[in-house]
Amino acid sequence: MNNSAEKKLALTHLWVAFGAFGLAAVMGLYQVIERSGFFGFLESRAVYYASVSTHGVLMGFVLTTFFIMGFGYYTATSSLKMPVWNLSFAWVGFGVSLSGVVMAALPLLGGAASVLFTFYPPMQAHPLFYIGATLLVVGSWFWCVSMIVMYTQWKNANPGIAVPLAMFATTANAILWLWTSVGVAVEVLFQLIPWSLGWIDSIDPGLARTLFAWTLHPIVYFWLIPTYTAFYCLVPKQAGGFLFSDEMARAAFILLVVFSLPIGFHHLYMDPEQGHGWKILHAVGTFVVTLPTFITGFTVIASLEIAGRLNGGKGLFGWIAALPWTNPMVLAIILGLLMLIFGGFGGLVNASYAMNAMVHNTAWVSGHFHLIFGGTTVIMYFGVAYYLWPILSGKPLFCKAMAVKQLWTWFIGMIIMTTPWHILGLLGQPRRIDSVNYNNLLTLSWEPYEVTMMFGGAILLYSSALLLINLYKTQMGTEAYQGEIEYAEPIHAPDDLPEYLNSFKLWNIVIAVFMLIAFGYPILQFFLMETFGSGRWGV
């Protein structure tokens, strides 16, 4: 099948993703140096908060959304062996998202949207920021429609046959994202945009936070599912083995989609606008969503063990040494899983209703988020990029050794940066401070950790540069490369799959019921009690 048009579509998305990543990485190093306070000439809170806001938007929204769309289009066309449905529709979606990014970037870089990527009304940003962010999301809905249409077309043409796992996961993510984005879309369309344009005078920050919490948890699973897709569908083959269980992978994706949605209140444990009961209900759901990650850990490590033993590894742990550690994708998953162990531990602390009070909004939280997102999730984006770039560009990877070095430096940099960050949180440092001004001796204990973090930031920027240089040189190469994506084979082909593991109909109904239970009254209450809105505040 000639899918050069699809390859171009995917590659263009991925370049936007990694371009945004490169810019945000530079800002990251600036921020970690600025906040340490050791370089007085750099101190500027206006620049710092503009930078933090832009860094968050670029990493959290632009890198992820464009990577997910690009990877998704290519997964769809290659796993279903059919062209992308309505290419112009896909390009329009790309254009809408990209124009949104540009529109949001103007006020962000100009310091007129220093409200961070979580918005925080009643601090108000320039309306262009909200409109741009909305367009980015609207463009991604085009992608969701594309994925669901292709999934449906293939299923209708192949009745009773299991949808290829990679496409099943991608469709799960499209459905997850549609559900996820409703919360923030309602906040932006009915609260932030009309309020920032002066059409309404006040908004209720309690309602805004509740709606944002709807989106805030499942969005991280939207980012994570491509990583898990690579874990299940690409890594086993690259490691030289087979996927341990196709069925359990499907079950894990379904659990992720269903249970990541109704649990957002663990971001509101410390908020006054929601009651105990609702918080505890969401806390319980938060622990249910650890199940698919436990399952994934098992299935993926079992798949790696099969590969290691096929490669000749012996003994209880000998198979680990027999894995192809110099294959970028395999190395990415090994390092990613290591960071998942540390990050998962921190996540359990955050999710715990009582322990959270000790770390809430401290530097611990920023450290956790960077470790689990920048670490586990994004390192696999790198692994996928090294694998896909030659296939999509038709040029061989510029330098494999450089890729291996990049992944190792990313891992080392992440550990050096996030470990002190966690400790700073335990020592009471609030998150998102641009400098240390407190009149208390406690702050002296923070200094060594602030210094250490700078080295982590520098290593991470070096690693980012290695990645971008490698991808750019690959793209600019003169040799030709012929290759198509190879999906991992499961040990047992999924023959007689029950419909609930091959379709999302039942699960959409389950989600609707869960969301009604988890968010119905908590949103309704704002219309039942007397609330007092907030006006507009600058930063």
Binding site: R45, P205, P272, L291, A354, N361, D434
Partner: protein
């Protein structure tokens, strides 16, 4: 459909692990008096000075008839007012926080006093402070350019010292 025996066992173990965590958390939430601020009480942030409870004269610590202490503080860019408060150790303390402008958060390091302060709502936290000493109260939610400059001071003294201080007619907020 083929599910390996090992996978079935592991799914059971995972369920057990998650169940254990949930049991511990529910236990601590229901029986150990964990008081995350969840009182869902609204207030007009623009008219705090006209409200009875949060008018200037009523801020700070107040001894209740049952021996507990209620502390009322207003968060506003950039400080928690009153800026200096003194509280007794080993006493049931109820903090009531309101914001006069944007969203803030506050925590007292090394204690479990932590809450978001959302305009339009009263955030109430109950706790015991076990150790005497000087503590900062730090803003932990980005609230604008001065976020890093937003803090106030708390001094925790022994119960007897606190009672003597109040008996001498000193204001509880130095």
């Amino acid at each position: 459909m083929h599910i390996d025996q090992l996978e079935k066992k592991w799914a059971g173990i995972s369920l057990g692990i998650a169940g254990l965590f949930v049991a511990v958390i529910l236990g601590s939430a229901l029986f150990h008096g964990i008081h995350a601020p969840s009182n869902v009480e609204t207030i007009d942030s623009a008219r705090l000075h006209l409200s009875e409870e949060f008018a200037e004269d009523n801020l700070g610590a107040q001894l209740n008839a049952d021996g507990s202490v209620t502390v009322r503080l207003v968060a506003g860019r950039y400080g928690f007012y009153p800026k200096n408060i003194v509280l007794p150790a080993e006493t049931n303390i109820t903090f009531r926080w309101v914001s006069l402008d944007v969203i803030h958060g506050v925590h007292i390091p090394m204690t479990n006093m932590s809450t978001m302060i959302v305009p339009g709502y009263v955030a109430q936290v109950q706790t015991l402070l076990h150790h005497t000493g000087e503590y900062p109260m730090l803003c932990n939610e980005y609230c604008g350019m001065g976020h890093a400059h937003m803090w106030s001071n708390l001094k925790v003294v022994s119960k007897t010292d606190w009672a003597n201080m109040n008996n001498q007619g000193e204001a509880s907020h130095e």
